[in-house]
Amino acid sequence: MLLIQCPFCGTRDQSEFTNGGEAHVKRPDGSKEISDHEWGEYVFVRANPKGIFYERWVHLHGCRKWFNCVRDTSTDEILEVYKLTDPRPDINKFNKIVETPSGEPNVGSGNFTVKK
C-alpha cells in the first residue's frame, strides 16, 4: 500500500486513488485528419518503463481530482507529485533515487523506454 500525496487533500492511503496510466499523452485534435496508425497509438499504446515514469492518478475516493506523479516503477518510490497545471518536472532532477532492492539498475533490463 503506497502513500500518495494528493496535491489538494494531502497524504492519503493508496486505496483512495486510481491510477490513470501514462501522463502527458495529448489527445489528438479531432478536427484534424490523422491516420489510423496515429490515432491507434493514442488509443492503445502506452509506455511501461522500468524506472522513472510520469503517470496520472485520480483521488477517486476523495476529491475526485486528477494529478500527475513521477514514480520509479522499479522501487515504487514516488519522486514528485504535481498538478495538471504545473510544468512537467525535468527527468534529470531525479538522479538521486533509491537503490532497487535487488541491486539491479533502476532503468534497464532491456525495456528502457523512458521518454526524455
Binding site: M1, Y42, D76
Partner: protein
C-alpha cells in the same frame, strides 16, 4: 520419573491447575502453559506425524519457528495447524494430533516412510510431468497423497475478527530488551509510538533465558517490571501484546494479528482476533533472533530440541523437558543453558562440540569442567536413535571413532540467525556475516531501523552504543547500561551445516526441512539434476516452503548448497522471505467484511415499500433492485413476469428506476462539453427537450447510454445506466480536468437526490392526470421526449415524457425524502387503471420486445453504435467527440463485424437461451464456425413465443435469412434472423 517442574517461575501459576485433553486423554497443567509446555510437563514428547513420511515428531522449539508441533484444536471449531509452542492452554481445551490414523502411536500412514526412497526431490514434478501420468492417477493420488498433509480443515463456523487501523510515527516490533529500551527512550517525545510483541509478557530474552544476570545492578525481572511500568504510563506509547507482525509492506505499512483470547476459550459473541493495519513513519525492528538447528541422521526424532528452546522452557514455562540432556553445538551459545541446568540441580549428560578444545571459550570450558560434565571436543552427533523418542546418540570424533551415549533429550544449536524475515519483506538488503555465519540486515530500503540481535548485534556490552547511535535521528537522550551476563563475551560459531550420515542405508534420513520432510539427500539430488539456483532448488525440493518458512533451517540449506557448488554463501544468495511471517487466517484478513457486510448494499428510497409487497430482489452492482413482484408464494418468476409485462402493455406499470444515474451539468461551455462527451449533436436541440444519447470510449465502443435533457445551452441533465453511473461521472470529470480544462463546466451527481419512477402503458396519461391534476399531460403540451419542472405542494418534481418499454410513459423525479409519499399516491390513483409495480426482469423483457439494448448485456465493450444500427445517433457534422475517429478505423468498418439482430425460432415452440451460439449449419461438427451469440432472450406474452437479440457477423445483411442456434445437447434449433424491433415498429404507442 523425576519432577520436571521448575517451580521458581513467575510466569506459570503453579497454584492454578488446568485440565485439558490431548488425543482424548485427560492431562493437567498450569495457568500460563502453552500446549507444548503442558505436554512436556506431562512427559509427552510425541505430538504429531510428519507431512510426507509420517515419522514421529515432537516439540522442537519454544516459539513461532516451530516446524513440527502443529496440532488441531478441537474445542475451537477444530482449528488446524496450531503451533503448540505458542498457543496457551485453558480449562477444558481439547487438542488432537494431526496427520495420523488411526492413532498417533500406531499410524498406518507411516508406510510412506518405508516407501520414502520413491519420494525424492521433485517427486511431484516428476509424477505430474513425467511419462507415467496414469501412475499418478491410480496409485499416488488415491493412496499416497491422502497420507501426506497437515491438519484437517475446520468445520463450518462463523469466525469473528475485526480490523484496526493505526497511524503512528514509530512502530517498535518486538518488546525484548532492545525494544523496551527503545520505547523507554521515546517516552514523552513528540512521537506517537506503537510497541508490539507477540507474547503476553513483554521482555523477550529477559524472560525467556538465563542469559542476563543483571542490568545496572538490577535483577532482570525487576528491570522489566520497572521499564514496562514507565512505558505503560507514557501517553504517547501504545502497547499491543499477543500481536504478531506478519507483514511489512511498502510504504512502512505493517500488518499484525492480535489474538484476543490468549489462555481462554474463544467465545462466539466476541472478536477472536484483530488484524492491525499500521501506517507508520518509522519502523524499529527489534524482533530478535532464531536459533538454527543441525542436520544429522534422525535429527527429527522426538526428544531433539533447540538449546535456546530448552532454556526457554525452564526459564519461561518452569518445565525442564529432561534432567540430563546431551548438548550438541558448534558455537558458544549453550553456556547459559548449562548454567541454568546446574542451578536447578540438573546436569547435562554430555557436551559435544564440533570445535576443538582451543576454540571453545574459556568461560564455557571452565563451567563444563567445574561441573564434571563429560565433554567431547572436535566431535559431532552422527546420529540419533530411538523408536518414538530419542534413546541414544552416536558421537563421532574427528578420527571417525564412534561412541554411543544413552539419553532422553538432545539439545542442539547450530548458530543464531537475526530474524530478518520482516526486514527482507520491507525489501531491505542482507549481507553475509562471516563472523557469525548468517545473513544480517545491511541496508534498509524503507524507514527501517534494526536493533539488537535482529540487526546481527549479539554483544550485550554494545547495546547502549548501538541504541544511542541508531536512535539519534529521534533526538532522544543517550543511555548508559551496565549489563552482566551468563554468556560468553563474544558469540563464536564454527561452520557446520550438516553431519554426514555414517549409515549408507537408503532409508537413513538427515532432515533439512522438518515440516516438509526434505532431507539433505534431496538437496544433493536437486543440485545433481541441475537445480543449482536457490529459488529453483526451493521449489523443486519444497525446502523452506512449509508454514514455518524454514525458520530454523533455511540458512543451513544455503550452507549445504554453497559447499556443494563450491561457492560462498552470499554468492548463492537467499530465497525471498514472503509475507505473512506466520500463517494468517482468511477470517482475520476478511475482518467484518463478510456475511451481511460482504459488499456494501445500496437501497432505493422506497426500498421498504418493495419489501412490504414481497418483491424478490436482484443485485445490480451494489443496488438491491426489485426483480419481480410475485402476487403470492404460489406465483413463479415466469408467471409474475408474464403477468407484469401484460399489464404494462394493456394497462399501466411502474418501475422504481431510482438506481439510474443522473448527472447535472452546468457551465458556460456545457453545450460544447456535452457535444464532446456524447455521440449526439445537442446544438440544435430545443431547451426543454430530451434525447437518447450514446457515450463511447476512445476506441469507439459503446460505453453507456442514457437520456440527455437540455435545460439551456449552459445547463443539462444526463441520465446513465445503473451500473455505469459512477463511470460516466468519472469519465466526464476526467475529460473536463485533463483534456479540456479551458471549458467552464461542472457536474454533480444527483442520482441520490431524486427517486425516479418509470410509469408506462396505455393508461398512464389518465393516471398521471389524477396524480398531478394541475399539469396538462396532453400530447400537444407534453409531447414525447420533453420534460417539465413543477413544484407541487412545495415538492420540486421533474417529469419527463420518455419510455423504455415501448408504451407511452413518463419518468418522474421526486426528492428522495418525498419519494414514498408520491409513489403511494401514484398507486392510490393507479389502482383504478390496473397499475402494477414491475421489476427489472419485466423491464428487460419489454425493452427487448422494442429492440432497446442494455449496455453490458447486448454490448460487451466490442460493439460500436454502427454495429447496433444506431448510425442516426452519431452527430456526423460534429468535428469531434469521444471515440469519433475510431468509428472509421479499418477494424470498425469491417463488414463482417458482429451486429445486432433479432432472432425468432422458426418453430415457435422452441425456446432460446442467452449465450447460445448462432451457427450456419444444421449439423454439429468440430470445429463449428460461429456467427455470434444470443445476448438477450425472453418469452414474450405479446408475441406468444420466445425471441431474442443477438450479435452476429455481418448481421444487418443477414436479416431475413435463416440460421441455427446450437444447444448443449448436440441439437440445433432453426431460427429466423429478423429486425431487432419486435413490437410497434412505427413507434405509434410511444408518441401518441
Amino acid at each position: 520419573m523425576s519432577d520436571l517442574n521448575v517451580k521458581d517461575n513467575k510466569f506459570i501459576q503453579f497454584h492454578q491447575k488446568i485440565s485439558f485433553q490431548f488425543d482424548g486423554k485427560k492431562y493437567f497443567a498450569f495457568k500460563g502453559d502453552t500446549i507444548a509446555s503442558a505436554l512436556l510437563r506431562n512427559n509427552i514428547s510425541l505430538v504429531g506425524r510428519s507431512f510426507k513420511y509420517h515419522r514421529p515428531r515432537g516439540i522442537y522449539t519454544c516459539g513461532i519457528e516451530e516446524p513440527n508441533a502443529l496440532v488441531q484444536i478441537i474445542s475451537e471449531h477444530s482449528e488446524p495447524n496450531t503451533r503448540a509452542t505458542i498457543k496457551k492452554i485453558y480449562e477444558g481445551m481439547q487438542i488432537e494430533s494431526q496427520n495420523r490414523w488411526p492413532s498417533l502411536e500406531n499410524d498406518i500412514g507411516s508406510i510412506n516412510s518405508f516407501l520414502s526412497p520413491l519420494f525424492t526431490a521433485g517427486f511431484y514434478y516428476k509424477t505430474f510431468m513425467g511419462p507415467h501420468k496414469s501412475f499418478w492417477k491410480k496409485i499416488y493420488e488415491p493412496v499416497i497423497r491422502r497420507a501426506a498433509g497437515l491438519g484437517k480443515p475446520p468445520k463450518e463456523f462463523k469466525a469473528i475478527s475485526n480490523h484496526m487501523h493505526h497511524n503512528v510515527d514509530i512502530t517498535i516490533v518486538g518488546a525484548g530488551l532492545n525494544g523496551l529500551l527503545a520505547a523507554k527512550s521515546l517516552i514523552n517525545s513528540n512521537y506517537d509510538v506503537l510497541l508490539i510483541d507477540q507474547d503476553d509478557q513483554l521482555g523477550g530474552i529477559l524472560n525467556n533465558s538465563n542469559k542476563i544476570l543483571s542490568i545496572n545492578n538490577q535483577q532482570p525481572s525487576e528491570f522489566v517490571k520497572e521499564i514496562i511500568q514507565e512505558i505503560q504510563n507514557a501517553s504517547n506509547i501504545q502497547i499491543l501484546k499477543n500481536t504478531l507482525v506478519t507483514t511489512y509492506n511498502y510504504i512502512d505499512h505493517l500488518i499484525a494479528i492480535e489474538d484476543k483470547f490468549v489462555g481462554s476459550k474463544p467465545t462466539n459473541d466476541k472478536v477472536n482476533s484483530t488484524l492491525h493495519k499500521i501506517r507508520t513513519s518509522h519502523v524499529i525492528l527489534s524482533n530478535g533472533h532464531i536459533e538454527r538447528f543441525l542436520s544429522f541422521q534422525n535429527n527429527d526424532l522426538p526428544g531433539v530440541m533447540l538449546s535456546t528452546a530448552f532454556e526457554k522452557y525452564i526459564c519461561r514455562y518452569g518445565v525442564s523437558p529432561s534432567t540430563q540432556p546431551v548438548i550438541f553445538s558448534n558455537n558458544s551459545n549453550s553456556l547459559s543453558l548449562i548454567k541454568k541446568l546446574i542451578s536447578i540441580g540438573h546436569k547435562p549428560r554430555a557436551y559435544v562440540d564440533s570445535r576443538s578444545g582451543e576454540e571453545i571459550e574459556t568461560e564455557l570450558f571452565d563451567t563444563i569442567h567445574r561441573n564434571d560434565i563429560p565433554i567431547y571436543t572436535n566431535s559431532l552427533i552422527a546420529a540419533a536413535h530411538g523408536k518414538k523418542h530419542i534413546e541414544k546418540v552416536l558421537i563421532e570424533n574427528n578420527s571417525g571413532a564412534i561412541s554411543e551415549i544413552k539419553t532422553d533429550y538432545l539439545c542442539i544449536s547450530g548458530g543464531i540467525n537475526p530474524d530478518v524475515h520482516l526486514f527482507t519483506q520491507s525489501k531491505g538488503i542482507l549481507d553475509w556475516d562471516e563472523q557469525h555465519l548468517t545473513y544480517k540486515p545491511y541496508k534498509s530500503f524503507q524507514s527501517t531501523i534494526t536493533i539488537g540481535s535482529a540487526s546481527g548485534q549479539f554483544d550485550f556490552s554494545k547495546i547502549d552504543t548501538e541504541l544511542n547511535e541508531k536512535l539519534s535521528i529521534f533526538n532522544v537522550d543517550k543511555i548508559k547500561l551496565d549489563i552482566k551476563t551468563n554468556v560468553c563475551s563474544l558469540l563464536k560459531v564454527k561452520k557446520l551445516w550438516e553431519v554426514k550420515s555414517p549409515s549408507k542405508s537408503i532409508w537413513a534420513k538427515s532432515f533439512i526441512d522438518l515440516q516438509n520432510d526434505v532431507t539433505t539427500k534431496d538437496i544433493r539430488q536437486a543440485i545433481s539434476e541441475g537445480f543449482d539456483r536457490i529459488e529453483h532448488l526451493k521449489r523443486f525440493t519444497t525446502n523452506s516452503m512449509g508454514t514455518d518458512q524454514g525458520k530454523i533451517s533455511s540458512i543451513n540449506a544455503l550452507g549445504i548448497v554453497s559447499d556443494l557448488l563450491d561457492k560462498k554463501v552470499n554468492e548463492v544468495g537467499t530465497t525471498i522471505y514472503r509475507p505473512p511471517y506466520s500463517p494468517l487466517s482468511f477470517a482475520a484478513i476478511a475482518g467484518r467484511n463478510t456475511y451481511e457486510f460482504y459488499d456494501p448494499e445500496r437501497k432505493s428510497p422506497i426500498h421498504s415499500w418493495h419489501l412490504s409487497k414481497g418483491a424478490v430482489f436482484e443485485d445490480v452492482g451494489q443496488w438491491k433492485r426489485p426483480w419481480y413482484f410475485p402476487l403470492n408464494s404460489e406465483e413463479s418468476m415466469h408467471d409474475a413476469v408474464q403477468r407484469e409485462s401484460k399489464s404494462v402493455r394493456e394497462g399501466a406499470g411502474i418501475l422504481d428506476g431510482s438506481t439510474l444515474g443522473k448527472i447535472e451539468i452546468k457551465g458556460n461551455d456545457a453545450l460544447t462539453f456535452m457535444n464532446l462527451i456524447y455521440t449526439n449533436d445537442f446544438t440544435k436541440m430545443k431547451p426543454g427537450s430530451s434525447r437518447y444519447a450514446l457515450m463511447l470510449g476512445e476506441d469507439g465502443m459503446v460505453k453507456d447510454d442514457g437520456i440527455i435533457c437540455k435545460i439551456s445551452d449552459q445547463h443539462f441533465i444526463a441520465t446513465t445506466t445503473t451500473g455505469g453511473a459512477a463511470n460516466v461521472l468519472t469519465c466526464m470529470e476526467e475529460y473536463a480536468q485533463t483534456e479540456w480544462p479551458e471549458l467552464n463546466v461542472y457536474m454533480n451527481s444527483i442520482t441520490e437526490q431524486f427517486a425516479t419512477f418509470n410509469i408506462s402503458g396505455p393508461k398512464t396519461r389518465d393516471i398521471m392526470q389524477k396524480v398531478f391534476p394541475d399539469i396538462d399531460f396532453s400530447n400537444q403540451t407534453f409531447p414525447f421526449m420533453t420534460f417539465q419542472f413543477h413544484t407541487i405542494d412545495q415538492i420540486p418534481i421533474r417529469i419527463m415524457r420518455a419510455s423504455f418499454t415501448g408504451e407511452m410513459g413518463y419518468e418522474i423525479y421526486v426528492p428522495a425524502q418525498q419519494a414514498l409519499k408520491i409513489w403511494e399516491k401514484i398507486h392510490h390513483f393507479g389502482s383504478d387503471f390496473g397499475l402494477v409495480p414491475y421489476g427489472t426482469e419485466t423491464m428487460h423483457l419489454l425493452r427487448a420486445e422494442k429492440g432497446y439494448i442494455i449496455v453490458g448485456q447486448d454490448t460487451d465493450g466490442s460493439i460500436t453504435p454502427i454495429d447496433l444500427g444506431l448510425n442516426w445517433m452519431i452527430g456526423k457534422s460534429k468535428k469531434d467527440f469521444l471515440g469519433k475517429r475510431s468509428l472509421t478505423r479499418s477494424d470498425t468498418i469491417r463488414p463482417d463485424r458482429k451486429q445486432l439482430v433479432g432472432i425468432i425460432p422458426s418453430n415457435i415452440d422452441n425456446h432460446l437461451e442467452e449465450g447460445q451460439h448462432v451457427v450456419l449449419e444444421d449439423k454439429i461438427q468440430t470445429p463449428m464456425p460461429m456467427l455470434g451469440h444470443i445476448t438477450s432472450s425472453y418469452f414474450s406474452p405479446t408475441l406468444n413465443h420466445s425471441f431474442g437479440l443477438a450479435v452476429i457477423k455481418n448481421g444487418h445483411a443477414l436479416i431475413g435469412t435463416e440460421a441455427f442456434v446450437s444447444t448443449p445437447d448436440q441439437k440445433t434449433i432453426p431460427v429466423k434472423i429478423v429486425n431487432p424491433v419486435f413490437y410497434d415498429q412505427e413507434n405509434q404507442r410511444l408518441v401518441s
